[in-house]
Amino acid sequence: MKVCQFVLRLEQPLTDSQVRRLFCQTSQVCVETGAFRRWSAVMVDRKAPSLAEAIVATIRDLDLVGLVIIEVGPDEDIVSSSVIAERAQCSVGTVEEWSSGAGGCTGFPEPVDMPGGVTYYRWSDIRRWIQSRGVMSVPETASLFVAVNFTLRLRAVAPHVQGISAITSLLTEIG
């Protein structure tokens, strides 16, 4: 089981009652509401065998609370050393060696200037560095998010489409 991280954008901000019900359903999420309540998102740190299974389980949790998901996407960019270690499948000690330049590692991205002086990095910078160094592979997830979002849209329009079973049979022929 690994910790899978991603963000689900919602149709509208949650009510307090929905937040309470969501946390009763799962404690592996946080809920952010944007400035002036213009948007809302559920940010997920979920243990699961795979990212796909983590996303599906979370969608089902949100379904039970009656939340409408607009889009599922990659996690926010700010990451700690331990998150980098989880994603790169190495130890925190290895990440610290990279950042200190030990063992001849150079060019490790600078940390973000965080309030309180805690050390966090941008995953977009770290990912580029890991790939350029070829130290290990980071799984590509773009196609997975495309597939999930197509499925969410299909699910939303399905009740209004005549002959939907013929269309969804195309999907059952996959894999």
């Binding site: 949650l14 404690s27 946080c30 952010e32 509401t33 002036f36 700010i78 309030p115 309180g116």
Partner: protein, 91 residues
């Protein structure tokens, strides 16, 4: 909860206070707490209980479940504080 480290979580809670954000006192029976930005009303709901001292300052954190790791919640709090720091356009 042998693998749970509370230090980063408690540090994140205090950094948020120092940055001028507010923890909303919630019902003790609710397994969640809310961090709000007084400038724009943006908020972050997290599945932890933040306990307050008599002076109103956060003094203790409890995770509502051993399934989550304190470090992950701490990251969400720190990232929210970063997005709502002074001088930043709040979205």
């Amino acid at each position: 909860m042998s693998d749970v480290t509370f230090e980063p979580l408690e540090t994140a809670v205090m950094i948020a206070v120092d940055a001028g954000l507010r923890w909303v006192r919630t019902d003790r029976h609710r397994p969640w707490s809310r961090l709000t930005c007084p400038s724009c009303g943006g908020s972050l709901d997290v599945p932890i209980g933040v306990e307050f001292s008599d002076s109103g300052s956060p003094c203790h954190c409890d995770l509502s479940s051993e399934q989550i790791h304190a470090d992950h919640v701490a990251r969400r709090i720190n990232a929210f504080v970063y997005r709502h720091r002074p001088g930043k356009v709040h979205r």
